[in-house]
Amino acid sequence: MHNQDKWTMEIGEIDGMMQIEKEFPIVPEKIHGMVLETLENLEKENPSMKKGGNTMKIKKRRVIWAAAALAAMFGTTVAAAELFTWNEQAADYFNDPPKEVQNEMVAQGVVMEQNDSVTDQGITVTVKQTVQDDNRLYILLDVQCEEALIDDNSGFDKWNVITKDPEAFNNMGASFAESAPRGKMEEKNSRGYYEITGLKTYGREWNEDSITLDLGQFFYYTYEEEGLGTSHVIDGNWKLEIPLGEQTQALTKVYEPNSQVMVSGMPVTVKRVEVSPISTVIAYDLNDVQNVIDTAYADEEDVFLYELQLSGFRYDDGETVESGAGGGMSSFWDREAGEDVYKIGLAGMIEPDRVTAILLGNDMTVVELQ
């Protein structure tokens, strides 16, 4: 957390002392030559060509919701008139699931309408909607300022989510929605959606039927013709109560593939995979992971195994959905269970019933689930 003195510091003082892009070196001739040569020889060098087209073709797409699959995924029917309509920003964040899915998520308690609101220092903050499952919480706020202060560089500092269990979350992030104007390049808005996402701490019992969101400082930037911009802060107190009800496990699918993926030439067993519409948990065999680290990265600290990171899902029709940790990721070594557990907040919403495999790493290594 920054203190106010730091935020009010005139960062803009370095404006004018440099045009940063010009301070970086030009592309050396030998590198430009390499690029030209690489492009010229693309078809010769293309690895998929070398393999005679054997490289698996992955057809990716944004999540498209199929009506037939929806019926399988959601067995109950819900009278739409009884339900509130999703906020358009929340729907956009989760890749615009169709109305049937939106209604079912409300009925399952995954999605809740909120309405607490508070005004201070000319800024009104209203909670609009929450989305949660066992692993994750998403909170959508509507922020309205008397003046146009909002762009994608502005936000709240000194913010805190107050829970009964102080360790209920272990990874939280917040920012204005991507629809916010781009810093120096577009006019600011006086109103914007603010999104907070958090991952629930692995292994702790979730017992939060409501939480308090405490926002203490709003910051924004002004921009001169050149330079990086000057930051400003507005101290205030925006405290909001957010009822959450019960979390739901209704839509989570659990698999125990016990298959292996190769990392630095060594096998790592995928012990368990839990897939929900908005999050995924992957548990690897801790001994296997430890073996890779001890053997291949013995002299390194903070080893991050890219090969074990979630890249997407394969659906039952063979299509794949690219979906990494856009909603945050945390990892935990559960020594008692002998597992290296990754908890991932998905970038959009997926259809768990249609998932037949997860895809890992840059190479999209396939781990079959069913």
């Binding site: 590198i31 390499m34 690029v35 693309l42 690895p47 560089n153 992030g173 890219y306």
Partner: protein, 164 residues
Amino acid sequence: MDKEKFSAEVLSAEKSMYHIAKSIVGNDEDCADAMQNAILSAYTKLYTLKNEAYFKTWLTKILINQCYQLLRERKATVSYEDYMDGQFPCEYLQIEDEQCSDVFLEVMNLKEKYRIPFVLHYVEGYSIKEIAEMLEISRQNVKVRLYRSRDLLKDKLKGEYGYA
């Protein structure tokens, strides 16, 4: 996207690719390897690009992954500790004296977690959201890192080089 369009897009992104690779791997040999690997990988995976408008962002993410892959493979060249702490010596960066500006050196001596978001945002113009997706960190984290990088850079440039 056909090969000609792909080539044109890569060439228009060449300078940006070089700057980003330079900020991660440091020396030109590794920059060349990472860029070449990224170009080949992108061409192989071209059918996965959903919207051509995002080609440069997509290519940059591939490049970043290739840079990190290269660093893991060549960790003996620059120690991991030096890499994480910044501390690229000038000769390692292989920049001609006239190009080795104070500002560039200080950017390169920022810690990795501040340096890369800084270069992506202030040198290459990527948005907070794009950087968050490329680096797989939250947008709030990107903002905090950008703020701290500017703070560190300002102190360095004022203290050591006397910029007013």
